[in-house]
């Protein structure tokens, strides 16, 4: 006869429960303590992983084909629109094509290694530079530079920050899930921002639209 059957023979199962609880009573405090310890340990591991490890796992770092000195070009060429201009039809040209760069860089002009790579690998081979675009929005978003820069008279810095003052290119961090740049969500993993150019998410668009136009705007304004 098993212990359980024996106890059942002797009386109700209540006496069984009472027996067990009595056994545990002696170890009670230490049981809760282990649970709390495990809770704290798991919390700490997951919390720290979420903050420190996760962002590093989420993004892969990619180097640009070669580094580009915006500050130098702004100094030589003038404002942003000397390279990032509006076409005659009002559409925005974005990153210049090789044909524009070749206007000046048909041959090596300076003495930087980056320019040498550019001329040897791209100009001479007539190959477009596969720039990784930090501010590329997902394909489901329609954005008109013309409406913002020409229409609303916004400056480039409001969204793109002080890229024009940079002398090198930071690594491009690509989100492994979406394939888009880290700069859209922002550097901060929680998405907190200090400046208007720290993030380029829909909420940031809506925030500015609400402030400037009194409405966050309708879905189909951007998601056409």
């Amino acid at each position: 006869m098993s212990k359980l059957e024996e106890k059942t023979e002797n009386g109700s199962t209540d006496s069984l429960e009472t027996g067990v609880s009595e056994e545990q009573k002696a170890e009670g405090d230490s049981g809760v303590g282990t649970g709390v310890l495990f809770f704290i340990a798991a919390f700490a591991v997951c919390f720290l992983s979420g903050w420190l490890l996760f962002p590093n796992l989420l993004y892969s770092k990619k180097e640009q084909p070669f580094s580009f000195n915006h500050a130098l070009h702004v100094e030589e060429m003038g404002g942003c629109d000397s390279c990032h201009y509006f076409r005659e039809d009002g559409s925005f040209a974005g990153i210049p094509k090789l044909a524009q760069c070749v206007d000046c860089h048909a041959e090596v002009m300076g003495d930087t290694e980056d320019e040498a790579i550019f001329v040897a690998e791209y100009v001479e081979k007539e190959k477009e530079v596969p720039w990784l675009i930090y501010s590329e929005q997902p394909d489901c978003v329609f954005f008109s530079h013309s409406a913002h820069v020409v229409g609303a008279q916004m400056d480039c810095v409001s969204c793109h920050g002080h890229i024009g003052e940079s002398t090198t290119m930071k690594p491009y961090e690509e989100n492994r899930i979406t394939g888009y740049s880290r700069d859209i969500w922002g550097k901060n993993a929680w998405g907190f921002k200090k400046n208007s150019w720290d993030r380029m998410k829909m909420d940031d668009c809506a925030e500015c639209h609400e402030k400037e136009t009194g409405s966050k705007g309708a879905c189909f304004q951007c998601h056409k």
Binding site: A42, C46, P55, L58, D139, I177, W185
Partner: protein, 716 residues
């Protein structure tokens, strides 16, 4: 320390809480939602600068001006060119999606040589040497005249180069595919005594009497006609459609005259008779000479309305009403050419319709029929003929008329093919000619076939060598307007994109082939490139052509109209073209139907095929249109699978009941049933109606004039 379930509970809760207060969960939710909206495998067209370049559509002879929208130089869309004299901003659905022909899965990507029945990819040098050797061997054997060449037409420098090559090789055997333009020119020459191209001034006509034309279904220059048709709303011009079937043209006409198929000429001549009897014809422009008197006597006696009512199925009052409407109109015009006008048609029918126009005095008049003299503006240098070529060219042409049907019939009838080598450019006879299966067998008998096609079409599949051409958006070419439009325009198409594959300009292919053959053949082609040839040959008009992209004659040169008209061809040899087959075995009549959404020799683009109604093609099933009365007799219902049998062939299709088709007549669409395995969108869908139809040679023109065939239908 004892690990128990509380420990695990603590671990789980701790992990959940830790993750919850870290950004991971919320960021992952956001990223997942972005991912679901931007599947990484969904193609995203690249952004870039938008530009427009202009060229001419080369899909049919309509010669519409098209603007190609490009993103960073990549063509993405085609629109009609605004202000263009032919299409003024309009475009048909084939032109609209012509980019699909650029990326067509059946495009040939490199030269090919067939070895032991299988295609082998070759370099241009290998393929040209292979072709040149075969042609050279035939010439050396003294059989230069056994080399034949088929091109779609003979207008412009590319057909000109093929024609020249055929001659220089020592052959008389250059043939063109049939069009209504051929028959119109023959008819005008027979009646008016002068060679001329026909132009119908439909825009200025207030009554168009159409004998079976697919006026808004691809006839002539399709977009030009769409606009003429649309203009009728504001101008009040009337359209009368004579056709056995309620086509889109008939449905959009002011009056539909459902004459029995094949009786269009009888109806036209009956109307001529009424006009003459009632004196309602233009006595000023028609000389009342013996020829006219004989014609008048014939139409009044042999084509009396009472007799013609029985033949055509149109009652006497209706024939008289038609005649009066035609006579009462200020600028009436009668037109002919069945469907899209891709077949030669009956000379008798064209002559009868031309006679109607003569009677109302509209020849060379505004709103009438124009007899145009078009100067091609070409200067070809003289050719060099070696002994082999001279020996060949002095022999007689294999078939007397410019008829590919007759050539193929001759090959079929001979034990050994009289054609030893066949060059095919811009034509697909194994699909478009009637009795297509017999034509296919004939082409198989020809020992050496060279195809210059851009696509692996039915004829190219039988070739020994393929020298693939750039498709029209990849090449420069002079394109004379061939549609019956009262305009004289030669346009210059421009390459819209660098060639996608290892293909060549067909002009350059001819030059390279000639160069590979050396001797007098090479010497007759003194140009380095096709571009140099084009500039030299088109020298008289090159400045205008190259600078403005077209030579548009301000006023069309008209051939003088003869007052004394010779209608004798209607008096003699004028038997009606009958549907082949005996009535007892084949109680029905099958007619082919041209559909604006489907094309002829070149398989329609996937987009165009997708727009075709599911009563014409559904999945891979084709349909036969039957009147419910006929279907009742045959105990057939909608969707039944049936076997359509004609004296030529048989095919399994589904039944589509249609009140708009005459009882006793059944119809099937042209342009389906392409045997193109690479093209999953179009290949193997439906039935090629040309495999059921047989050619009927016109006694006057010697060209195929069949409009239908007798048929029987049985349930499968």
């Amino acid at each position: 320390m004892k690990v128990d379930r509380r420990s695990f509970l603590g671990l789980g809760l701790g992990a959940a809480a830790g993750v919850a207060v870290s950004p991971a969960t919320w960021k992952l939710m956001d990223d997942s939602s972005i991912w679901t909206q931007n599947w990484p495998w969904t193609p995203v067209p690249s952004d870039g600068e938008v530009t427009f370049d202009e060229t001419v559509c080369g899909l049919c002879s309509g010669n519409c001006g098209i603007s190609v929208r490009k993103i960073d130089g990549r063509p993405v869309k085609i629109e009609g060119t605004k202000g263009h004299p032919i299409n003024d901003g309009g475009v048909c659905l084939h032109g609209l999606c012509a980019l699909q022909y650029l990326h067509d899965p059946s495009r040939i990507k490199s030269p090919l040589i067939k070895i032991d029945g299988a295609w082998k990819k070759a370099t241009w040098e290998e393929a040209l040497a292979h072709a040149a050797k075969a042609l050279g061997d035939i010439r050396k054997a003294g059989k230069a005249n056994a080399i034949a060449c088929i091109t779609e037409n003979d207008k412009g420098t590319i057909p000109g180069l093929f024609k020249r090559l055929t001659t220089v090789l020592g052959s008389n055997n250059h043939y063109t595919m049939n069009t209504m333009g051929k028959t119109w020119s023959n008819t005008i020459e027979a009646i008016n005594g002068t060679k001329a191209d026909v132009g119908f001034d439909l825009k200025n006509s207030d009554l168009i009497l159409s004998f079976g034309t697919g006026f808004i279904e691809g006839w002539g220059s399709p977009v030009y006609n769409f606009q003429v048709n649309a203009q009728r709303k504001s101008s009040g011009a009337k359209l009368i459609q004579v056709e056995a079937r309620l086509s889109n043209t008939a449905a959009g006409a002011d009056t539909w005259v459902p004459a029995k198929p094949g009786t269009e000429a009888d109806l036209a001549l009956a109307i001529c008779g009424v006009l003459i009897t009632t004196g309602r014809y233009d006595k000023k422009t028609i000389q009342n000479d013996a020829a006219f008197k004989a014609f008048a006597k014939m139409v009044q006696e042999q084509y009396a309305p009472a007799k013609m009512a029985r033949i055509t199925g149109i009652d006497v009052a209706a024939i008289q009403k038609l005649a009066m409407a035609f006579a009462d109109a200020k600028t009436p015009i009668a037109i002919a050419g069945k469907g899209k006008g891709d077949s030669a048609g009956s000379t008798r029918e064209f002559a009868a319709v031309y006679a109607l126009n003569c009677l109302v005095g509209n020849i060379n008049a505004p709103g009438g029929v124009w007899l145009m003299e078009k100067d091609p503006g070409e200067v070809w240098p003289s050719i060099e003929m070696d002994a082999m070529a001279t020996a060949g060219i002095t022999q007689t042409k294999l078939v007397g008329t410019d008829s590919v049907d007759n050539l193929m019939a001759m090959v079929t009838a001979s034990a050994t093919s009289p054609v030893e080598a066949l060059l095919v450019y811009n034509a697909n006879p194994c699909y478009t000619l009637k009795n297509a299966k017999a034509v296919t067998e004939a082409v198989k008998k020809i020992p050496f076939v060279i195809s210059f096609s851009s696509y692996m079409d039915e004829t190219t599949q039988l070739a020994n060598v393929v020298l693939p051409s750039h498709m029209f958006l990849e090449r420069r070419e002079d394109l004379p307007l061939l549609g019956p439009v009262p305009l004289d325009i030669t346009a210059l198409s421009q390459p819209m994109i660098a060639p996608l594959f290892d293909t060549r300009h067909p002009g350059d292919s001819v030059l390279s082939l000639a160069a590979a053959m050396a001797g007098s053949v090479a010497a007759s082609f003194p140009w380095e490139t096709y571009d140099a040839c084009l500039e030299a040959v088109k020298a008289p008009v090159w400045e205008t052509l190259s600078e403005s992209g077209a030579v548009v004659k301000e006023s069309v040169t008209l051939v003088e109209k003869t007052d004394s008209m010779d209608f004798s061809l209607l008096l003699t040899d004028a038997a009606a073209i009958e549907a082949g087959g005996d009535e007892a075995s084949y109680p029905l009549v099958l007619i082919p139907v041209d559909n604006i959404r489907l094309t002829g020799g070149i398989a329609a683009s996937p987009f165009a095929v997708k727009t075709v109604s599911d009563t014409v093609i559904k999945g891979t099933d084709g349909f036969v249109e039957i009147n419910p009365v006929t279907a009742d007799k045959l105990r057939l219902s909608q969707g039944d699978k049936v076997l359509v049998t004609t004296p030529v062939g048989s095919a399994t299709v589904k039944v589509n009941l249609f009140d708009g088709i005459m009882p006793g007549v059944v119809a099937m669409a042209q342009g389906l049933g392409h045997a193109m395995a690479e093209n999953l969108y179009v290949g193997g869908k439906g039935v090629n109606v040309n495999e059921l139809l047989g050619p009927v040679m016109d006694a006057i023109s010697g060209l195929d004039a069949a409009w239908g065939i007798r048929a029987k239908i049985s349930k499968v």
